[in-house]
Structure formats: C-alpha cells, structure tokens
Symmetry: D2
Subunit: 339 residues, 4 copies
C-alpha cells in the first residue's frame, strides 16, 4: 500500500454475519478507514469476510482489541451481547460504533453509560435513518424554519415481513423495540424535543402460521412532545408492496414529506393504468446510502476528535419510549415517558 496506514482509522469488526459484511464493504470503500480485524465466534465466518478485505480473522475479541493499531470497534453482534462488548472495547481504549440497541434493559444501558463516561470513549449508536439524504433534507428544512414550529408529525414505518419465530420469541414487542425504536429516535431528532406521553394500540393481524407467538405485528402510537407537538407512528410487518418509510412534518408555515423510494423510475402505461415499481424491498436497499454516510460521520468525528453525533443517551431515550409504548399497549391507557 502506497498510503500510510497511520492516516487511516483501523476497525475491528465484531460479528461477521447479517449486517457485518455491509459495514465491512463500506469501511473498505471509505477513503480514511481500513478493516483490520474481523471477530466472530464462528471462525469460518470471520475468515471469509476478512479474506475479502485483506483483514485478519479471529474468534477472540481480546486478540483484536489488543492490537494497538486498532482505533475503533464496530459491533454487529446480536443485541443481548452489545453492552458487554461496548464495555470491553471501551476499557481497551477503542472508539465504539454500535448497532442499536445498546441493551433492552435500561439499567444495563445506564451501567454501560458509566463505563463510557469513566473511560472517555467516543461512542456512536447507529440510528442509520438519520443519515438518509431525504430524511436529512427534511430535518434541515425544519431546522431552517421552513414550516415554523412542528405541530404534527406522521410516520409510516412498515416492514415487508415479520422476523423468524425464534427472533420474535427472543424479543417480545419487537414492533416497538426493534422497528418503531427507529421512529422514536427520528421524532426526537427531528423535533429536538422529548416525548412526554405515549398511547399505543397493537394488533395481531398475521395468521398463526406467520406469527405463531402472537406477538403484535401491527401498531399505532400517539406521542405528545414536551413542546406540544402531536405525533402519530404506525407500523406493520406485512407491507406487501415493499418497505414503507414515510415521514411527514406539518407546521404553521407548511408541510414537509419524505417520500418512499423505488428501484427504478420506470412508468408503464397501458389500458389498465399507469404502473410504477413497488417500493425498495427492505432496509438494506432503502438505507444503503445511510450506512455509507453514518460510517463517514463516525470516522470524521473520531479522527477529528469531536463527539460522535448520536450518543448512548439517544439510545437510552428511544428505549424509554419503547418501554412506555409497551406499557400503554398492555394497559390500554396513555403512559407518561420516564426519565
């Protein structure tokens, strides 16, 4: 390599399955990042991904964290392992990029926060939707005052399919903890305000074959923000027309709409009408650009010594709203969001 490694941020990627390869490719393509280690308990997965990008494979997190060349850990493992890995990486002096959630237990999140504070570790929780160019343009327009005070927000957040039964069993009320948690974060980010009250209603619309655990697969939530903004979020696990991701912000001066995206811009006219593509299939396709940009933001923050732009506190707040939504769905009453 003609380019000196010392000018690059070297990553240790933890968890080579699922979203790991996508982050690995983005690291490889980034002009100021490098993939140094792939850590996976399944060493075969680690080897395959490492080979593709000229990195080193290992089943031992300690081995990778011991490498002084590594500047950052990227955590792509299952959620229940996040908190412990964050703490180990923090104690090893590595900056941390972590897939959401930090943990599903608020007290565990708080413990993690103490470790991060004690070690002074730069930490980023990957609410990737904030980096989507269309959502970001909507955010910028609100901040620029284009609609004045946001009075109402309406978010549609619908997946094309439900997760596999064992995944659902491992995380009940995943519609709030896994899906709408992104929307709860978006609402906080877009308004710069905190939810104070949540009302939620859920339903099981899928049949027993697709949803054997009868965990909610459909939900509507109303949030009231401290500043008065009213928010509606709806979600479903069977949008047959693709991944439905819309945000609408209404205010005294107008409305902003972040539209859905489609694979192509082809229109087909015939006697039956005008037909366009269905929506992009799921988050990998829809938020491809977001994954690139969130990495860029993290690399830029760490290399320039500024704090990453999404904090552990952001992860904690979104989790609180999800907890409140579950409580409301179970009791049928509006629930105050805790602190």
């Amino acid at each position: 390599m003609a380019m000196a490694n010392e000018s690059l941020l070297s990553f240790c990627l933890v968890g080579g399955g699922f979203i790991g390869p996508l982050h690995a490719a983005n690291i490889a393509a980034h002009p100021r990042a490098r993939l140094a280690w792939v850590v996976d308990l399944d060493v075969g997965i680690a080897q395959t991904l490492a080979a593709k990008h000229g990195a080193r494979p290992t089943a031992s997190l300690d081995e990778a964290l011991a490498d002084p060349a590594v500047g950052a850990a990227m955590i792509c493992t299952p959620p229940r392992t996040h908190a412990a890995i964050i703490e180990r990486a923090a104690r090893a002096g590595k900056a941390v990029f972590c897939e959401k959630p930090v943990d599903l237990d608020i007290t565990r999140v708080d413990k993690c926060a103490q470790t991060l504070a004690a070690t002074g570790t730069p930490f980023f929780v990957a609410f990737h939707r904030r980096f989507d160019p269309t959502h970001r343009a909507l955010f910028d327009a609100i901040r620029a005052g284009e609609i004045g005070r946001p009075e109402m927000l309406v978010l549609s957040s619908r997946d094309p399919e439900i997760s596999p039964p064992d995944y659902v069993a491992a995380m009940p009320y995943g519609i709030f903890y896994d899906t709408m948690i992104h929307d709860f974060d978006m609402v906080r980010w877009l308004t710069g305000d905190e939810p104070v009250e949540v009302f939620a209603r859920t339903a099981c619309m899928l049949d027993a074959k697709d949803n054997p655990h009868r965990d909610p697969d459909t939900a509507m939530v109303t949030l009231r923000m401290a500043g008065g903004t009213l928010v509606h979020v709806n979600s479903s696990f069977r949008a047959v027309y693709g991944y439905d991701q819309r945000i609408e912000a209404f205010g005294e001066k107008g409305m902003l709409v972040s539209r859905n995206h489609q694979p192509t811009g082809l229109e087909r006219y015939d006697a039956a009408g005008i037909r366009q593509d269905p929506l992009l299939r799921f988050f990998i396709e829809r938020y491809a650009e977001s994954y690139v940009r969130e990495l860029g933001d993290f690399v830029e923050a760490v290399t320039n010594g500024r704090a990453p732009s999404i904090t552990l506190e952001d992860g904690r707040r979104a989790l609180q709203v999800a907890d409140a939504a579950v409580a409301s769905a179970k009791t049928g009453s509006a629930v105050t969001v805790g602190n």
Copy 2:
C-alpha cells in the same frame, strides 16, 4: 318549458346563504330536478336566489311546504335548526335532504328519528365525501377485496383556516363535531364496521388572535373498530398549502391511497426545483363533484322509491364518535363508543 314538470322532483330549498346557492345550481343543472321554492328568513336572500333559477321566494317555510308540487326539502340552514325543519318537512310529507349534522344532541337526533320513522319519510344526511370519485374508487377497491381485510386506516383532514370566532363559540370542539365528523363517517363507510374505542389528543396551535376562544385547532385521534382495524385521523385548522384530504387504507394484500387534488396539472422546473400548484383551497372546490353526485343519488333514490343511501342512523353514529372523542380529549383516557 317543453319538459313536463311532473317528471321532475321539485325542491324547496331552506336556507339561501352559504352552501344554498351551490345546491340550487346543482338542482337547476340536474336533468330530473327543479328548484321550486327558496325559503329564507332574510327574504332578500330568498328573492335573489329564487330569481336566478326561476323559483319562488318566501320567508315562510309553511308556505313552501304547503305546495303539493314540492317533493323534497333541502335543508341548508344553521345546524341548530336542522332537527325542527326535518320534522316539519317530514310531517308535510316531503323527502328530506339535510346538510350534516342532524343535531349535536343525540337525544334530539333520536327524537327526529322517531318522527321520520312514524312518517316514513325518505331522509338523506349529506356526508358528501362519500361521493368524491377518488374516495369512491378507494371504497370500491376495498369492497372488491383488493387489499383484503383493512388493517390500518390513516386519514388526514386539514382545513386551510379556522371558522370565525362566533361560529367557534357556538360549537365548541368543532374540530370533532364539524370537521372530523366527516372522517368518522368515512371510516364507518369504508370499513363497513363500527368504532368501539376512541383516543383523542388536541392542541391549540393558533395564536390568540386567530383562535381567541382557545378551542382545539389541532387533533389526533386513534379509533379501534369492532373488527380490529386500527384507524388514525389527524386534523388542523391551518394547512397553508390548501385543503389536505387524504385517505390511506392498508391491508394484508396492499395499500390504497386517495391523493390530494390540485387546480391544475402544471409543473414548473427551474434552478430551485420542480413546483406544482398548492392544493385546492377548501371544500367547495375540492368536493364540487361530490355535491353534484350526492344530489343525483338522492334524486334517483326518491324518484325510484328506494331508501336514500346515507341514513339518519349514519349521522347519529358519527356524532357518537365525536362525543367520545371530546370525552377522551377532556379526560386523557381512551373512551368506549356508546350505543
């Protein structure tokens, strides 16, 4: 006239202001209807409108109802007068076309119902939105099973302006009784189902100059239908971009969207972007075709001896939902819809 009057349904229009002239013009243009009388306490208003259409003016409702040629009364007076006029017209043996609401008091509506039942009067309450071609196409698509069971409905129902202060003072919670009552009717009609629970949150977003009585000008409502469908309705009294009227129905097989309408189809491309017209201004423009079609439906029903397609019971049910929404907004709890 070369066309024999006996083949036409002759109307006595009661209330010549506001929406009266629009209905009068539609009667005049209808091939099987005729405007015979215009009744208004302000006889000058009655005279002007009657002259334009070759009808007879009067300040006396009795005089017009006494005319045996009159087959139907069209009631366009202020809401608090509706019930009494309905009853007088019913006792005079005239079919009744009535602007909504029948009355804001359920017990008064029930008394009206008894009179209509006793007299066997054909009665139609004018929820005009059911006759909008786009909403109707959405209804037809649901009925044809295009999306399977409706799982979620989302309705945006936003006015460009708040009513004048005295109008607001006369009807507190008009956002439910005057505006969303249309949406409550649409939800019942579209799903063929009844709401069983209502949760409502309101806000005063306009300043004291525009909303001196601090009556809610912004609202979000969640409805749960007997069959399980979840429904969201939102409303505002200051959509600066025009009259925002959208309906979205989501189900197991797909989604249907009734889009907004614009005055023209012009697109303007320049360095700042692509610009289209704002939305049609308000209900007179947006639902012009609905007013024509609801009249046609009523005329066809009365002249063919079938029951009109929107009943007093429809008006009563929508009012119950509005009552429940007010109760929820006041208490902060979800409220069961009464019977």
Copy 3:
C-alpha cells in the same frame, strides 16, 4: 322566468348531434346565456335536444336566424358545411361561434373572411384547448417570463382511437387537419409567433382492419418558428392508455410541463407495484372544463362588445401549417409555411 330574457345572449344551435348536446348543456348552465333554437336537418334530433332545454326545434336554419331575439349562432355541423352557415349567420347579423375548422380549403376560408369583414360579425373559432386551465396556466407562465424566451416546445397529442373509415375517407391526412391542427394553434398561441418551416414524417402503424384507407395514423412534425423556437409535435391514433395530451415548454430559465389528467387520484399499491388510473378517455372528458370556459369567453366578448379571442385568421393560420405538413409528408422535404 324571473330573469328578463333581454339580459341573456340567446343562441341558435346548428347541428344537434355529436358535440351539440354538450354545448347546449353548457349554454343552459351559463348564467348569461340561453338556448333559443336547435336547428337540425333531422328534426327528431332537433326536437329531443330542444325539449330538454326549453328551446324551439326546427329543420330550417332560416327560421331560426329570422328570430330577432337570437344573438348568436353556434355551429356544430360537419366541417364541409361550416363556411356556408357562417356566411348565412353573418348576413343575418348573428355573432358566430364555430367549431373548427372554418373550411379545409384556404380559398374558401378567405371568402368567408371577406363576408365576416363586410358584415362586421363577431366570430370565434373554437380551439377549445386554449381554455384548458392547465394549458392556460402554462401560457400565463410563459407570458410572465418564467422561462424566458421559449427555445423548444414538445407536444404529445395522441388519440385513443382512429375515426370511423367513412370519416377518414372524407378527410385524408386527418392526423394533420383534424388532430394536430389543435397543436399547430397551441404552438402559435403559446409562443405568440408564426411557424416558418415544417418537416413531417408519417406512418401507418394500425393494421388494415382498423385503418382500411391506409391514411396516416402516426406522425412526427418539426416546426421552426420565425423567432427561432424549435417545436416537436407527435401524434398517434391508438394510445391504449387514454387521451395523451402533454405540452412542454423549455427556455433559458426553466421548463413548464402541462401534465396529463386522470379520472381519479387513487393509487393502488401491491406486490406488482403502484398503479394509478389510465388517462381520461378522450377529448369530451379531458376538455370538459375547456368547453365551459370557451363559451364563457365568447358570451363575455359578445355581450361586452369586444372581439372574440380566437379569430378566423387563427383558423386560417393553423390550416396553412396543416397544408405544409401534408406537403412535407408527401415530398419528404421540409416545407416553408405559406402566407
């Protein structure tokens, strides 16, 4: 009638078939117009239409023109009869509203022009597209300088079907004389400029069953305007997705697009994509509002003593362009437009 007839413009409608009933209904609905006579050689057609609107039927044009109450003649007969009827109406002192074309023979048009000039008759040739609200908004935007000088115009002008064989036989090259003649007029109106050169290419794409006379059913034309604007017009007689009517004006400061119109604003989302309605079927549906507005413009002009806004010279110029297009299609060379 309570409204004095003298304040209304009374029409004698000549030709009760085809577009006649549409114009009759618009006259009836117009606040300052009245249908007095329906003239048709088939007296049964005249009687039916007259009865519907309280007018008098006749097979004699002279009888209707002799009525001093009649202020205007509306000519809806077949094209070959227009010129003679124009002249008779003009000599009878009636203002003339004439469906296009005046005649397909320029010398006959010129003779007509002499009669109109000699009698001082107000004359209007019904290029209805000028009154479409979207096209009109495009015209207004050009006039307001929104795109600066128009550099290129692109017009798509496609019918859903070919005319019946005998109609085609009676008017060869109908694609220029009957269809594109509207576009030639639009180009002149939109630019305020005259075409100086025409290049045309035609094809027979329909099979012999639908197009037995092998008259062109598909065409592309390039116009060069005196001021330099380049113009493209394309046309077809089998747009299976509906009546395709688009105009696009490109200039130094941007682009204006007059989009197609659809019956409803419904969108249907499913696994196959997003589907909207096909286009409005044909000109009766697409230009319904234009017919209302062109009548209003004529009535306003005649009653206020100003010249109607589309002149016989406009009809003559559009015909010249059509003649040039035919000559170019036949020779394969670009052709200069005559004077």
Copy 4:
C-alpha cells in the same frame, strides 16, 4: 492481501484526469478487479491517483502495457487519442474498455476495427446509459413485448451547461458528436433496429459570452428506423433545472417512460405550491450506478471469455448517425444514414 491477485482482473488506467478517478474508484470497489497502473503524461496526476488505490504510476503507456499481470486497459484520455491507444493496447494483448468515441473519423474507426479483429482483442465502448437501471428496465419491458412494436420514441437529452470554449472549438457540432451520440446509441439498442434517415434542426440560443464559437447549443432530430419506428430527440446545453434525461417508448400496447431522477424524495408544501428537488446535476451524479454496472459487465465478460456487450461497431454506427445529423443540419434536408 489474503485474496490471490491471479483471480482478479488487473487494470491499467490510461488518463488520470476527468472521469479517470471515478473509474479508478469503481475498479477498487469491484470484488474481482484491481487497479495496477495509472498512466498519465502528467506524472503528478498519475502519482496522486495511484497512491490512493495502491497502484503504480507512470507517464509511459509502454511500461504499463509491458506488465504481464495487466489484463485490461481502461482508456479515459481525450477522444483524439483513443484510436492509437486502443491499437497499442490491443497489440499488447490487453482487453480494452474505452470511453466513447473511438474516433470522430469513420475511416480511423474502421482502421481500429481491423487491428482489433486481427488481434482478437475483447473491446468495449462505454455507452454507459445502457446500464442505467431505469433505462435498462425500459429496454427489458420492450424486449418482453409490453408495448408491442415500438412506434414512436421520444428522447430528451439536455445538459445543464455548455462545454468550455476550447473544448467546443476542438469538436464542432458537439451537440451531435458528444451529447446526442448517446441517444443515437440508445435508440439502436432499445429498438434493435438501425436508423435509415435523419432530419436535424439546430439553433444557437445561448449568448456570445457562453457560446463564443456559435456552435449549435440546441437541436431537434427526427430519425426514421428501418422497421418504421419514428424517433424524436431533443437536446440543449442549458437546462437550468438539472440534467434532463428522459426516454419514452410508445407502441401498440402502451407506453414506457424512463423518468428523471432527483437527489432526494423531499416534498415541500407551502402557500406557493408543492416543491421538489431539481434534477440531479449532471452525468456523474445521474449515471453513477451506470458506471458501476458497465464496469461489472466488462469484468464479467473478460473473465468469462464472452464478448463485451457493446462493440466497436456500435460506436461506429452511432457516429454515422451523428455525421448524418450534421449533414442534415447544414443542408436543411433529410439525410440517408450511410453504411
């Protein structure tokens, strides 16, 4: 590197300016390609680009071509140098990926063809638009028979700006040779047919400051294909709203439209209307995905031993149409396309 180099196609990139860095990045990101050399007469440019991707810089094409590890040459130099470099690379036994055009002189292209034939070199001319996903979907739909026989094609191909004066001086009629040549290729590809006649009209719409050489900056072309399809192409060098790239294919069974693309899907509603982003700025943004996919196609062809999917003959045919367009623009007559 853990991945063996022998499984990768090693590129020698010739010309490190302009589009060179974009192709270099795409090679680096491709899983089966590698950038081995950057050749540029300005050795500083070669060094910078080579350093970024771990390649070797040189000012000597011979040095790079002499490297037996190099499998392919990617030519990104100015057009007048293409033919000679193609021949040198072919004689060195390297597969060739060449930016269009091969040369602007047909006889020079033919000479090149002889060398390629004699050496059996895999050759690809980079008409990147064929790889745009939306255009490709349109192509696939035509091939699948969705519109039946294509009867008319309409292409809008407008740049946001004119090239610098010295670039214009070096290539007169660049609107045909540099811009529309892409459309001429698209028409051949989409229809699977050859143009037989061209009619072209040009204009200088820009003022002397922006277009000092008075080379055409605006053009409309009509093509007639051997199979009868009529084609319209229009172009301009000042689309202020962005890079306007539309294709519309009309046939007996319907119409296909490849729409324009925008940076974001944000819609802004206010009292002035609904505003969306302008179009993507220029070809680098609009065709980013095309550059990735054309490289993938070339790599896949060369490594699998199949012929690249765009041939030198494709480049030659498009050039012939451009020559004919120039001849037509100069003479004012339709011109037959040569063989």
